[in-house]
Symmetry: C3
Subunit: 447 residues, 3 copies
């Protein structure tokens, strides 16, 4: 393969905004004649390692690779994989990403698994969905579809509807919409709102402001009684300056993104009265120009009679997945060069070791799952103030640390105290609270 | 792909008799050097969507596509498919038959599923077996083997033996034999006779006459005590004119087609004393020139010691499946043109909507299964007399309607009454019986 | 495909020592640029028939075939194969090895299954692991890795550690090490020693002598208290002549081959205190130049912290599997010619029919499993003295026969008696003991 430094796509943040836009243009080229590229990656092999079922994602990747002229090997059944014999993900990707394959697509039930794969494999790794963490190629395809349909992303009004809690697709999509300057209207199924950590990150990383949204009646998915939220990136030239952001009126919607109830992630919770988009929804004035999107598979949250409406673009969305993934893989395999630079801060860099007491609070994080056997806990500093906000290097779940200890003296101080500031960075050991520090044998200063 | 109008192979009726014969000649070309065709379909992708297991059929298709130089993507495990998340077949084929693949092979447990797939997919669909409905490529391969072995199909004497009830292979094969003018001798395992609807269709569509067959002793599969049936197409130049068709003597058999007990379809029913073809069977005078066929997999209805007999052609039959499927796919992908015209009446045309009360009587029909959510019931008129014979547009199960109502006036009449005849075709609503009409709010005239 | 006589790789004995060394050189060529061979086997199709799960082996073969430019069809889930419908292995390989594929890789839970496949398939068959019998490509890869690392095999000191009882990998490796003149130090997990029949064969076929080994302390895997065995081929120019072989001191180890507990083969037996190779093991003087090998998947018998040690070559070992398998398949497909001759006695030749009473004593042998339906028991003569040692032609399990009967007279004699010697070879019927002979209706002479 070409001699380019290895790049992975674990999180959508692994690509810069400019790179993403450039990839859209390459995807357009691939799309225009899907059958003309069968020499581009001839000789390359993609392995799909799916530790959790997903036909659609797997087939989309496999089709993309075949259309590029490459070969495909696939381990898609968790029951027949080496992991059934107790093998770790790290070992699997070291073997398969050795001589077997030139690029890996990994899907795994544990949050952060894709980052583990990327670290251990010698070849590029694409995250095909890791637990509730991210599913970045779905996000790329969604953005590409919207960009192609509307000609831009900046300033679009995008309604997200349904299960916003357990859908990793939705979370990745939110960050990406904020990054490209689109506005988000959340219409969650009650009890399935966007998680707090997503909101926090939207605020911190993209300056997103939240307001109550007064949305026109959208039969089946929103009534006047519903309290929708409006999320908009806080930039000087945008409406934030001109509008009272306590209540935004949404009269014109550019896209409605429906999502199914992720039943496999919340067994036991009822989904009675789950929103259902019908012809009546499309009849609403606000939906006049709304593209209807869905990551598929659909269960019954969109009526079949809506399929023929020209605004329904969910099958088109799936269709665009192939050229988008062709562009991505051709790029990662060094067959397509981008002029744009990569992201400023690579999420792949090594972070702060977990040290004495820190542990990712996300119980579904791979560091609390199969990684316990071999992974060192690791965190990155996201922000600091009177406390520091760290995030797990794998699953990106955030963690507030309020105490800093000195690795040698084992004296421990509040984060914002002079004693803490006096500890050199290399000697710092972080703790969430006093109890944790004491359990690790540190003496907390009363300072 | 080439710009030909889309063709599907859901039922063997989707190909004209002339097209089938022409495909045999193409299959011969492919067969003569399997390894020389790897540029013909380069760039094309076939998806195998198998909602029910079948290694043999899947591998045969996949081999055929690879030998044509194309690529293969495969969803073969019902447990790991999107359907496990509740996705409909219609959605799956719209996605996979969008940009993912250029041709689909679908196997599904519900009768009529392949027609649904063909209607929703944008690309050609091949039926790889849909419930108890059809398995047309098996039929094509069987016919091709017999044609190649005997040099013709017309006038052959073909014995069908074993489970004739639940084997879709047998049903398709019967229609095809009748169509090509071969004669059928049925030797069912008692209780597993050809279903009545197969006999009815043979009679109506191909003028097949039934007689008792006096077959020479065939140890293991037929004794004088057995009552075999003889089915022959009623054509003026054939034996029907010359023979008393109440009892046909069969002294020379061209082929014996054995079939295994389809245990997965009739759990509970014992298959003790199931027929077993052995060397003794082959020793019978009537079997002297009989080719032994079997769709495979065999369980033990053919003895292993028969394998080496030159008349045993069941492994050859499997072998011919690859070039036959190459010919079919090259045709459907527009890489091979046929001079012959397609069938006169396309089974793909839209039929009579189900309307008020009609419902396919086949409980395993997809319109009574997963299709309930999104399919409109639909029927085609097969024949009419004092009643009309409709058949389900999906599973082709027939249904007799004896009443016709008027969509507006809601007055209902016997099918053969003047009142019925007065109703315009567009306003007709059909019912099987009075009760059904009344349940739908129609008033049945005493006329 | 090229017109070479069919060769299979069922047992490592199916290749001569010279052929193996020549294949190593071809593997080196493939390895040096994995991406340059995609025209060598273009048009060829490999089928992987895996009746028992194994991702690693399957993916390695599939990658090798794709890198050679061929295609792959795969039946990897025992639940969805025709065997679930009751099809025999013999039938499956006759179909798939007919027109579907040009080479087969078979993995099967029953001992001897690969030989059955090789006999029935028309195309070359590679054993991908058959029960506890053999896994010859793993052995080839292990030898290749060791040869590449150490520059030779002759005279190396190789420690085998862990479950030596149930690991077919270990058994094949032992025979091969003995054949190439390497010395073996066995350090089994107590209760999981090399089986007696492996030791017997090592002795008989390779003149291997056994001694107690005094091994330097190897923390985690061997202490002074452990009793290791030393196995060395008895050749005049070797240490056997110079050393008292009751106790060999092992101070320098060339390789430690760890193996996981084959839990799927010995459920119920505890593996507490299973050996665990750690940094401390590598710190031992005797391990200074020891390459650490493992067939993978690893569970936790090698610490993750050992991975980065340059002596750890287990991931390299997996990596070399692809070029090694490329060389093997290119050879079997006739695309690479070897100058060396094949093995003198082909294990594929027909042997002694089972006759009256003989039955393979290995309950997991395919002749006692699915083969009961269609296989004739068959044995080969391994040696003879006062009794004859036969081995099952399929699983190679040995069987001592002490009586010989006359097929016509049905008189039976002790094997080493004049009466026995008087019976012509073609008329001999073998029995393990008197009871067996009598049960078969023979009269045992008191001679």
């Amino acid at each position: 393969m070409a001699d380019v430094p290895k790049r992975d796509l674990v999180s959508i943040d692994d690509l810069s905004t400019e790179e993403i836009l450039e990839l859209f243009h390459h995807a357009e080229e691939f799309r225009q004649n899907l059958h003309e590229w069968s020499d581009l990656c001839r000789g390359a092999i993609m392995a799909t390692l799916f530790f959790e079922p997903s036909t659609r994602t797997r087939l989309s990747f496999e089709s993309a690779m075949l259309r590029l002229g490459g070969g495909v090997i696939s381990a898609a059944d968790p029951q027949t994989t080496s992991s059934a014999k107790g093998e770790s993900l790290a070992d699997t990707v070291r073997v398969v990403g050795g001589s077997y394959a030139d690029i890996l697509v990994v899907r795994h039930p544990e949050d952060g698994a894709a980052r583990v794969a990327a670290r251990y494999a010698r070849v590029p790794v694409i995250n095909g969905g890791d637990g509730a963490h991210e599913h970045p190629t779905q996000t790329l395809c969604d953005l590409y579809t919207l960009w192609k349909e509307k000609g831009r992303l900046q300033g679009l009004e995008v309604v997200l509807c349904g299960d916003l809690r357990y859908s990793r697709t939705i979370h990745s999509f939110c960050y990406a919409l904020a990054r490209f300057g689109a506005n988000i209207v959340t219409m969650p199924y009650p009890g399935f709102e966007l998680p707090e950590y997503v909101l926090l990150r939207l605020k911190r990383d993209f300056g997103v402001q939240t307001a109550t949204a007064a949305v026109d009646e959208l039969p089946g998915i929103a009534s006047g009684a519903n309290t929708a939220a409006y999320l908009t990136a806080h930039k000087p030239h945008q409406l934030a300056l001109f509008t009272n952001l306590t209540n935004v009126e949404v009269n014109r919607i550019d896209a409605i993104y429906m999502t199914r109830a992720q039943r496999e992630r919340h067994e036991g919770q009822s989904t009675l009265d789950y929103p259902r988009l019908t012809r009546r929804t499309l009849g609403a004035a606000a939906a006049k120009d709304a593209s209807i999107m869905h990551p598929l598979p659909r269960v019954d949250e969109i009526d079949y009679e809506v399929d023929d409406d020209p605004r329904s673009i969910y099958f088109r969305q799936a269709e665009l997945g192939v050229p988008m993934r062709m562009a991505l893989m051709a790029f990662l395999l060094g067959k397509v060069q981008l002029r744009a630079s990569g992201p400023a801060t690579q999420a792949t860099g090594r972070g702060i070791a977990g040290g004495a007491g820190l542990r990712c609070r996300n119980e579904r994080c791979i560091t609390n799952g199969e990684g316990v056997r071999y992974l060192e806990r690791e965190f990155r500093l996201r922000s600091q103030d009177h406390a520091a906000m760290l995030c797990c290097s794998y699953c990106e779940r955030e963690l507030e640390v309020r105490y800093v200890g000195h690795a040698q003296t084992r004296a421990c101080h509040r984060f914002d105290s002079p004693g803490a500031r006096a500890i050199k960075v290399q000697q710092r050991v972080y703790f969430e609270n006093e109890a944790q520090a004491e359990a690790a044998g540190f003496t907390v200063s009363g300072e």
